[in-house]
Every structure is written in structure tokens, then in C-alpha cells.
Amino acid sequence: MTDTSEERVRDAGFDDLLDALAEGDGYYLACANGHGSLPPRRVCPECGSTDLDEEPLPETGEVATYTQVHVPAPSFADDAPYVTAVVDFGPVRLTGQVLADYEDVEIGTEVAPTVGETETNGERLVRFELR
């Protein structure tokens, strides 16, 4: 891999999760009291527990809410319009781009997480595929 000044420095925790999602091995963090959260995380935001373990992310989740973005930031200029959703996996929710037409998505739609790259500049992002 060539090292260019354009390349983004890794964000510990977050990029590790994306690596795992890309391999189909997504996970979340669970505290001793059963609260879910996402990395990077040292403390459970719900109860303050510092006893956090990685647990497998369920293979599918349900769209909790969604939109179709028509007016994007410059970093998504070539991607628009695109559908973005918050997806509920039970212990945690995850936000990403849905690979589907807006008309084919509704609240409750079942999707599976993956990782893709934006069309605009090839940045990695969380994506969801319809199930």
C-alpha cells in the first residue's frame, strides 16, 4: 500500500470495526449489565461499567428510520441521491447507506451490514444490503 498524504489516519476502534464488518464478523461491545455500545469505548455510556466485551453483531437488523439524501456534502457529491438509515440490531443501532431504491425501503425492512466505498472519493463506509 502506498502511503500518500491523502490517506486517512486510522481511527482505532472504529476502523477495526469496519475491518470486521467487511469480513462479515461485525461485533459490538457489551458491558456486564447487558448494555450495547460501539467502539472506541472504554466506559459503558449507559451505566459506567468498564467491563466491556466484544459480542457478535446479529447478522441482520431492521431499519429504525431512514431518509434519501438529495443534497450531499462534497464528499458524497457523486453518490447522491442515496438512502441512509439507522438500523436496529437489538443491543446497538448502526448508521449506514442502504443499497436500495428509496421506494424499496421502509421502517422495519430487514438488512445486513457490510462495508463499501463512496463513489465520490473511495472512502470506506458502512453499507446495508436488503435481505
Binding site: 431518509t67 443534497v71 456534502a73 439507522v86
Partner: protein, 389 residues
């Protein structure tokens, strides 16, 4: 506990002034506020200043001292940043300082320069109020986040784009005579519905504009007001602040704003009033759905029942509870860091009786200001009351 009075209020015209720096905007608003108050610059003990994006939009950090200098005030100054709630948070700290007896005269305000950026650039900069890792990198824009709140609201409680359109129509109608407002013109429900989609279900006319501007108020202790014979007939009697998880995905429910509910409960308790006592409100309508969530958080409507308030005329200027008589963020404009104190400046004038829309609330005694940051991970509520002579 020392009581807090609003001695003066000032604003710049809100609108498109891309060539004007925040220091210049704030100097105008602050000078207007000091003149309105009849307070000498030399008596000001500190400046509390709200600004959100100046480091990116005009490459200027450390704006607090610059704001005080521009105003000709020799006093310590601090910039507060809480996204769109920046000057609301600044105001809360100032109120507490006066109450604690630590200061008798403070200038509080905010400024924002936004239209010097292209629309795409300002969209990118505004998005920094969201979670960079989990929202922005997934393509969530600020309108996109509120669109997801609207979609969740419609799913849970019902409501329609047409209901939301009435919020925009109402606020535009209120702004017609307000010479501070960016859009001093009426719009129709059809225009809102037919405007281009920004992030479904929100369209262009559901959104506040990009705005340059500044606002300021002068806070004084009751003793200072009396000793100096000031005409300061409005008091800040309640302050409250609430917080929530930053990203929408980390909240139980995208269709409510519990941080604002917490802020409102604290502010009402502080002032010794209830939502029933409120005569007039300025709420944070950065998008039409945001006004609905605000009305419910402030206790004016049960959860899920605020969406038809504008359509049914409850919150219009001739309704039981006029909301956003200034025009709101939607029509008056939303220079992010200036919005919190502009709401209080407008309410002060509405209660004093010298606002262009005071005629619609001639008997108003209690006003509420609701200022939200991000997708309401920050919320600040203040209660203002007219003080009898």
C-alpha cells in the same frame, strides 16, 4: 440569589452578508444592545460569546477576546461552542454568574458567518455537529438527520408533509414585518410541498436558510438596574439545560427530544411556572419537524400530538400560544452561534411591547426560549417574565 434582568437587546439584520466578519457583526449587535440598555461599556465585567463554525468558515479561532475587542469592552471574554445552542449555553452561564453575585453586568451574544461558503461547503461544515465517525462518514447530512427524525415521527405518531408545511407558512407570515428577518415574505403550503427535496421527507422550504448575523443581550443584576435607574422590565427567571447521546443511532427514539424535555422541566421548576403559564415561545425550528418536537418537549402538547399545532392555528400569531413570532429560524434566519441569544432578544422585545409583533400578544407576561444543538444532544431553555413596575 440575585435576580437577573435583561437590560438591553440588539441584533444585526439577519441575511446574506458574506463580506462581513463575525467581529464586525458582533460589534453591531453588541453596540445596539448596550445602547438599548443605557449601560456604559466600562461597566461590562465579561463577555460570553457563542460561535460554532468560525474556525472553519473564516479561519478564526479564539473568537471570545476578538468579540470583546470589537465591542470596545475591556473585559475577559469566552467563546462557547455547543453547535446551534452555542449562545443559549453562553447565556445560561451568564445567568448563573449574575445569580451567584459574581457579576452585575454581562454582555452575552453570538455571531456566525456562513454565506461566504458555498452551499456544499456549508453543508459539510454544519455536519460537524453530528458524530463524525458513525454519522458523517455514513453520509448523514444535517437535514438528513432531521429527516430521519421526521420519518420516525410519522411512523410512530402520524402526521404529514402538509402538517409540517403549515409550520413554515406560519413562521414566514410572522417574519413579514420583522426588519431583522432574512425572509420578510409569505409563502404558501403548495410552495413548501413543491419545493425541491433535500432529504426525504424534508424539502427545501422545511429547512431554515444559511444566514449571517449576530445578536446580543445585556444582563444585569436587579440591584444594578435599580441603582442605575435602568428600564429593565424583563427578568430571566428560569434556566435549564439537557443533554443526550450525540448520534441518533445511540438514542432509544428518534421521534422525541428528551434533552429538551429535561431542559424545560428544569427551567420551569427554576422559574416556578408550568407550561400552562407560558404566553409566547421562541423555539428552535431549524427544520419544520424540529418545531414540532420542541412544542412537545416544552409540554405544550403531549408526545405525538404537536404536529398539527400550526395547521390548526394553535401556534399562529392569533392562536392560543403564538410560537416564533419573530419568524423563527425558518424565516428570520439561523446564524448558528447567534440564534440562542437572538431568541431571547426577540422575546424581550415581545414582552416589553416594542416588537413589531407585540400587538399579537398584548397581555403576554411569560415567554420561553428553546435552543437546540445538533439533533438535540444539547438543549437549553430559558424562561423570561415581564416584571411589574
Amino acid at each position: 440569589m440575585t435576580k437577573v434582568r435583561v437590560a438591553g437587546a440588539g441584533m444585526t439584520p439577519f441575511g446574506s452578508h458574506p463580506e462581513r466578519t463575525t467581529r464586525d457583526l458582533f460589534a453591531e449587535a453588541g453596540t445596539r444592545a448596550l445602547d438599548d440598555a443605557g449601560v456604559d461599556r466600562g461597566d461590562v465585567e465579561a463577555v460570553h460569546y457563542g460561535n460554532f463554525m468560525g474556525a472553519l468558515s473564516e479561519h478564526q479561532g479564539h473568537q471570545g477576546p476578538l468579540a470583546a475587542e470589537a465591542l470596545g469592552v475591556q473585559a475577559p471574554a469566552t467563546r462557547y461552542e455547543s453547535a446551534c445552542a452555542s449562545s443559549g449555553v453562553a447565556l445560561r452561564q451568564a445567568v448563573r454568574d449574575v445569580r451567584n453575585g459574581e457579576a452585575d453586568v454581562l454582555v452575552v451574544g453570538g455571531a456566525e458567518r456562513m454565506t461566504n461558503l458555498a452551499t456544499a461547503e456549508s453543508t459539510e461544515v454544519l455536519a460537524i455537529a453530528a458524530d463524525e465517525l458513525y454519522e458523517v462518514r455514513a453520509g448523514v447530512t444535517f437535514p438528513g438527520a432531521y429527516a430521519m427524525m421526521a420519518a420516525a415521527y410519522f411512523e410512530q405518531f402520524g402526521g404529514s408533509r402538509e402538517d409540517l408545511a403549515h409550520v413554515a407558512v406560519k413562521n414566514h407570515a410572522n417574519a413579514v414585518g420583522n426588519h431583522h428577518a432574512q425572509y420578510q415574505r409569505e409563502i404558501t403550503v403548495e410552495e413548501v410541498l413543491d419545493s425541491p427535496a433535500v432529504a426525504d421527507p424534508l424539502h427545501l422550504y422545511d429547512a431554515c436558510p444559511i444566514t449571517d448575523g449576530a445578536s446580543a443581550v445585556v444582563l444585569v443584576s436587579e440591584d444594578y438596574a435599580e441603582d442605575n435607574g435602568l428600564d429593565a422590565g424583563v427578568a430571566i427567571t428560569g434556566t435549564g439545560q439537557g443533554g443526550d447521546r450525540m448520534a441518533l443511532q445511540d438514542r432509544e427514539d428518534a421521534a422525541t427530544s428528551p434533552a429538551a424535555t429535561a431542559a424545560a422541566e428544569e427551567a420551569y421548576g427554576d422559574a416556578g411556572v408550568t407550561s400552562d403559564d407560558v404566553d409566547v415561545a421562541e423555539v428552535h425550528d431549524c427544520f419544520t419537524i424540529a418545531e414540532v418536537l420542541a412544542l412537545e418537549s416544552l409540554g405544550f402538547f403531549e408526545t405525538g400530538e404537536g404536529v398539527t399545532a400550526a395547521r390548526e392555528g394553535v401556534t399562529t400569531r392569533d392562536g392560543d400560544l403564538p410560537v416564533n413570532l419573530s419568524g423563527g429560524l425558518k424565516a428570520k434566519g439561523h446564524p448558528v452561534g447567534a440564534t440562542g441569544t437572538s431568541q431571547v432578544a426577540e422575546l424581550t422585545k415581545l414582552l416589553r411591547g416594542d416588537h413589531v409583533n407585540s400587538e399579537h400578544v398584548p397581555d403576554a407576561r411569560v415567554g420561553v426560549a428553546h435552543n437546540a444543538g445538533g439533533t438535540v444532544a444539547s438543549a437549553v431553555v430559558h424562561v423570561l417574565e415581564e416584571v411589574g413596575e
